[in-house]
């Protein structure tokens, strides 16, 4: 606890009752020059991440690469096994039975792409992360119910403990909390 006193706080977090209020607050904060903003909502709201300047996710590219790698893995595995490493006459079929190799190639494509989607999503979201300072705010539990939170990071160049709190309180939040780091 003594450490907490010396350590600067992580962020200031304002709690709002509706997504409209949250969006309004984001606009106001950006207008006021704050850049290190993060919003927490109980369900996905496209306008919120759009407002925070996140337009394109890198994920589709990751998935595409995953799919291509999967397709090649699947096909080459079958080719190598059936033609190079273990060539046998099976029912008079050619060693390189490309028609028969389609289903497995398809499945590995999907498997790798789906794996890339899930792992990519967790990686981009920096998860798993069991501890995060925002959990220190007791009311943050409501972020998974029906409350909307806006946090301004303490590393924001325009951040000032007192002025920022004043600013946030001016946005008509339910309340403003300090996020201990």
């Amino acid at each position: 606890m003594s450490k907490a006193a010396t350590k600067p706080e992580f962020a200031l977090m304002a709690e709002f009752r509706s997504s409209r209020e949250l969006l309004h607050a984001i606009e106001q904060s950006q207008a006021a020059g704050y850049t290190q903003l993060e919003a927490y909502t109980p369900y996905p709201i496209e306008e919120v991440w759009e407002a925070l300047g996140q337009h394109k996710s890198k994920l589709p590219l990751i998935v595409l690469i995953g799919g291509i790698v999967g397709a090649f893995t699947g096909y080459l595995l079958q080719y190598w096994v059936s033609v190079i490493n273990y060539p046998v006459n099976v029912g008079g079929r050619p060693l390189h039975s490309w028609v028969s190799f389609i289903p497995v190639t398809f499945e590995t494509t999907i498997l790798f792409a789906a794996g890339a989607a899930v792992l990519g999503m967790f990686a981009l979201n920096r998860l798993p992360m069991p501890y995060h300072p925002v959990f220190n705010v007791p009311r943050f539990a409501l972020a998974s119910r029906d409350r909307y939170f806006l946090a301004i990071g303490s590393w924001d160049p325009k951040y000032d403990r007192r002025a920022t709190e004043e600013f946030l309180l001016g946005l008509d939040p339910f309340e403003v909390n300090e996020v201990a780091s």
Binding site: L64, V99, S100, I102, P103
Partner: protein
Amino acid sequence: MSEPTASTHERSFPPPADLDGLQSKAWIAAGIGIAASLAGWFLDPTQFYRSYLVSWIFWLSVAAGCLAILMLHHLSRGAWGLMIRRVLEAAARTLPFLAILFIPIVLGLEETYVWARPEAAADELIQHKAVYLNRTAFVFRTVVYLGVWSFFAYGLSRLSLRQDRTGDATLFRRMQVISAPGLGIYCLLTTFAAVDWLMSLDPHWYSSLFGVYFLGGQGIAALAFVILVALYLAQREPMAGAFNAGHFHDYGKLLLAFVMLWTYFAISQLLIIWSADLPEEITWYLERAHGGWKWVSILLVLFHFLLPFLLLLSSDLKRNAKALGKVALLLLAMRWFDVFWLAAPSFEHGHLSFHWLDLATLVGLGGIWLALFLGQLKTRSLVPVNDPYLVEALDNE
């Protein structure tokens, strides 16, 4: 993009004036094509009938496919279909005319269909099928197919028009009630139509997937055509303000879905027949895997599946009407190749040959069909103005 709710109902969507010009051009193309085809008929009647069959099936796929998409739209009640409903209806209403254009095929039945020739009497297998594959039954069935399709096309069109006039909100429900059995009947009849018109060209061969494959192709043909018409209309008032990227995104997604579906059917059929290697089934594929036909097969793999598939994965492309239009054009062209690939190897066993009559009949029939289509399109408002979903449809992102 969205319009205020109140005003949409008052907006009107009359067909743009330059549809008349386009229609005249279509008639001119039809005239040239028909003249050339007639010349071809004098020079080489056999080739004429064969080319004509391919061209007719191609244009029929577009028209009949539009009927199917129309019913799908009514069934799903999706907003996506409202913007193109009038295009679909107009295309579907050309079906009775296509029935008239079927007459030359009946006249040249012996030139195109082996089973219609006298020597078929010596073939045990064809004799087995003679109850089904004979001139009378064939013509009768085709009349039934086109009659039933036309019935649904006109029935739905009439209700849709009445909805424009009265604004009766229960009409969309009625169109849905018609479409549910309609789509089922459509699929069943199309399956048999595919057997009659295409599969029976090689009367020894059979595949139970064939009808479904043909249906998938029709979906592509119709959607590609609709996208092109939508692109044309979107560049002109009054639709310029109504179409947005969201609409094309939806059509692109549907097109992608149908491309995948078609590919799925094509691969399934090939895989099953390839793996079992039954002599009675493989001859059909062997004809298409050797000689020049091999290249047509490869063409289909690359440009009917691979390239459009990869392009349509991109949502940017789907939202870009012009780029989507190019893909649609490519797919429409590949639809012709697919019909050609299904039909022609069975005429001339072994070698690939294109004939100028293939093009002449395609242009001739296409000109007539497009002119008929545009004639139908002109008669109505381009959007069903009193549909309860219109606000949602216009608002589609």
